[in-house]
C-alpha cells in the first residue's frame, strides 16, 4: 500500500524555566492513503502535540516526517485539522465561516465556491448557510466545521477529539456522519480520542500511546467482519468487544 505519511523517530519536549517535559519520544508509524487511523492514550500523553507536529504547527526536535504521494515523489500534501470545538465565529454566518480558510488563502474562486456549495447541499446545510452558528445544533455545527476544513481540499485530515464537546447521542450520530463524509470524499484521516469505542468504531488501525512521555505501545490493526462499515455498524460487530478488551488491557498495563 502507498503510504502517504511516514513518521520516523519523532520526539519533542516542552521547555520552561523550571525544566523540560518530554512530550513525545521515538514515535514511528506510517499511514496509507485512504486509511483511517485512531490514536488513543491516557490524557496528557501528547496526542494533540503529535497532531500539531503532523500539521506543521510544531517542529519536532528529533526525527523526520515524510509525506509521499502515490507517484513516489516527495511533496507536502495539504493537511486539514479539526479541533475539539467547532470554533465557528459568532460574528460570521455559517457560509462566511465555511469560507474562512479560502478567504485566508485567497482562494475564493469559482471552482472552490462551487465545491463549497456542493458540500453544503450534499451534507444538508444549504438551507442554513445564512444562519448564525448559535442557531444550529451541535451536530450541524460540527458538519459545518468539517466543510470549512474540506473546502481547502486537504489530502490528510487530522481530527483532534472532534466529538468530545457533544452529548453522547449526538456524538454517535455525528461520528457516523463525519466518517461517511470522510470516506465519501476519499480522505486519509488520523483521529485522536480517549474514547476507546470511538477509536475502534472509526479506525482501521489503532495506535496506542503510553503515558508521558508518549511512546508507541502497540499498533493494532482492526478487522471487523461486517460489510459497508460505518461506526454505528462497527459497534455491533462480533469482534468489537474483543478489541475493546484488548485496548483496555494495553492502556492499563
Amino acid at each position: 500500500m502507498d503510504s502517504i505519511l511516514k513518521l520516523t523517530d519523532v520526539g519533542l519536549s516542552y521547555h520552561n524555566m523550571n525544566g523540560e517535559t518530554s512530550a513525545l519520544h521515538h514515535i514511528s508509524f506510517s499511514v496509507a492513503k485512504g486509511e483511517f487511523v485512531s490514536i488513543v492514550g491516557p490524557s496528557g500523553c501528547g496526542k494533540s502535540t503529535l497532531l500539531s507536529i503532523i500539521a506543521g504547527l510544531l517542529e519536532p526536535e528529533t526525527g523526520t516526517i515524510a509525506f509521499e504521494n502515490p507517484k513516489g515523489t516527495i511533496a507536502y500534501p495539504k493537511i486539514g485539522y479539526m479541533l475539539q470545538k467547532d470554533h465557528l465565529f459568532e460574528w460570521r454566518s455559517i457560509y462566511k465561516n465555511i469560507l474562512l480558510g479560502l478567504e485566508i488563502q485567497n482562494k475564493l474562486d469559482e471552482a472552490h465556491m462551487a465545491l463549497v456549495d456542493d458540500m453544503l447541499i450534499t451534507y444538508g446545510l444549504y438551507k442554513f448557510k445564512d444562519k448564525k452558528p448559535s442557531e444550529l445544533s451541535g451536530g450541524m455545527r460540527q458538519r459545518a466545521a468539517l466543510i470549512r476544513t474540506l473546502a481547502l481540499e486537504p489530502d490528510i485530515l487530522l481530527l483532534d477529539e472532534p466529538f468530545s464537546a457533544l452529548d453522547y447521542q449526538t456524538r454517535l450520530k455525528v461520528s457516523d456522519d463525519i466518517y461517511c463524509i470522510i470516506k465519501k470524499e476519499n480522505k486519509t484521516a488520523i483521529l485522536v480520542t480517549h474514547d476507546l469505542s470511538e477509536a475502534i468504531s472509526l479506525g482501521e488501525k489503532i495506535i496506542v500511546l503510553t503515558k508521558r512521555p508518549g511512546t508507541i505501545k502497540k499498533i493494532i490493526p482492526i478487522t471487523l467482519s461486517i460489510e459497508n462499515r460505518t461506526p454505528m455498524k462497527s459497534r455491533n460487530a462480533p469482534e468489537f468487544k474483543d478489541y475493546f478488551n484488548l485496548l483496555w488491557k494495553e492502556l492499563n498495563s
Binding site: A55, L57, I79, G80, Y81, L83, Q84, K85, H87, F89, E90, W91, L100, G101, E103, I104, Q105, K132, R148, T149, L152
Partner: protein
C-alpha cells in the same frame, strides 16, 4: 407559544411595576432637589449669587442662547472631546495591535505604560501648555493623555485573552499571525472595544475640561474658570449642568451602539 400562563403574566406585570416605580423615584428625587434649591434661594436661606438657582440657570441659558455664545462654547467642547476620543481609539487600537503582533515590544513597554497610566494627567497639563502653546492642540493632547494609556492596556489584555484555540484554527487553515489578528482577535474583541470606548468618552471629556481650564478662550471649561474669576457663578453652575447632559448623552450613545451590537450577535 401564544398562550402565556397566568403566573408568567403576573411576573411580567410585577417586574414592569417595579421598573416604573424605580423611574418615578429617580424623577421625584431630581424634582425635589431642584425645588428645594429654587425655594432656598428665593427665601434667602442661601445666597443665589453664590449658589445660583434653577430659574437663574434657565434664564442664563436663555440669554446666552440668544447671543450665540453658549452654542459656541458647547460646540467647541464637543468638538474637542470627540476629536480626542477618536484619536484615543485610533492610537490605542494601533498600539494594541502592534503589541499583539510583537509581544516582545509589549514586554519592553509594559512598566512604562503602567506608570504613565497611574500618573495624574492633570499634572502634565501645564507642561503641555509650555510645550505646545495655549491652543486647541494642547487641549486635544490633554484629552488624549487622560485616557490613552488605560485604553491601550485594556485593549491589549482583551486581545491577549482571545481563545488560543481560535487562533490555532487560523493557523490550521494556513493563515499567519496577521490573519489571526484580522479574522479572530479584532472581531472577537469588539465587545471589549465598546466597553473601553464607554470609559474613554468620559475620560476624554475630563481631559478636555482640564485643558480648557488652562489653555482656552472658548469652551465650557473656559466658561467655568472665567465665570469663577469674575464671580459669574451662574455661568459656572450652568456649564456644570450642561457638562452633565453632554456626559449622559455621549455615554448613552455608546451604550446604545453596544446594545445594538450585542443584540446583532
Amino acid at each position: 407559544m401564544n398562550s402565556v400562563s397566568v403566573t408568567q403574566q403576573q411576573y411580567v406585570k410585577q417586574k414592569k411595576r417595579q421598573l416604573q416605580l424605580l423611574k418615578m423615584i429617580r424623577i421625584l428625587i431630581l424634582i425635589a432637589f431642584l425645588t428645594v434649591w429654587e425655594l432656598a434661594t428665593n427665601l434667602h436661606y442661601i445666597d443665589g449669587f453664590f449658589f445660583s438657582s434653577p430659574s437663574r440657570i434657565l434664564l442664563c441659558i436663555w440669554n446666552m442662547l440668544f447671543d450665540g455664545s453658549l452654542l459656541l462654547h458647547i460646540g467647541v467642547t464637543l468638538y474637542e472631546t470627540l476629536l480626542s476620543f477618536l484619536l484615543i481609539i485610533l492610537l490605542s487600537m494601533g498600539a494594541a495591535m502592534l503589541f499583539w503582533l510583537h509581544p516582545r515590544i509589549y514586554e519592553v513597554f509594559d512598566p512604562f505604560l503602567v506608570v504613565l497610566n497611574s500618573l495624574p494627567k492633570s499634572a502634565l497639563a501645564p507642561l503641555f501648555i509650555v510645550w505646545l502653546g495655549t491652543n486647541v492642540r494642547t487641549i486635544i493632547v490633554a484629552g488624549i493623555s487622560v485616557a490613552v494609556f488605560g485604553s491601550i492596556i485594556s485593549l491589549y489584555s482583551g486581545f491577549a485573552s482571545v481563545d488560543k484555540d481560535k487562533i490555532k484554527l487560523i493557523y490550521t487553515l494556513g493563515g499567519g499571525k496577521k490573519d489571526a489578528l484580522k479574522k479572530v482577535v479584532v472581531p472577537g474583541t469588539i465587545p471589549v472595544l465598546l466597553s473601553t470606548m464607554k470609559v474613554n468618552i468620559g475620560l476624554a471629556l475630563v481631559g478636555v475640561i482640564i485643558g480648557e481650564f488652562l489653555a482656552a478662550r472658548k469652551g465650557l471649561g473656559y466658561l467655568i474658570i472665567y465665570g469663577s474669576q469674575v464671580f459669574k457663578l451662574d455661568w459656572v453652575i450652568m456649564s456644570i449642568v450642561i457638562l452633565c447632559i453632554i456626559a449622559i448623552g455621549l455615554y448613552s450613545l455608546l451604550n446604545c451602539a453596544e446594545k445594538k451590537y450585542l443584540k446583532g450577535l
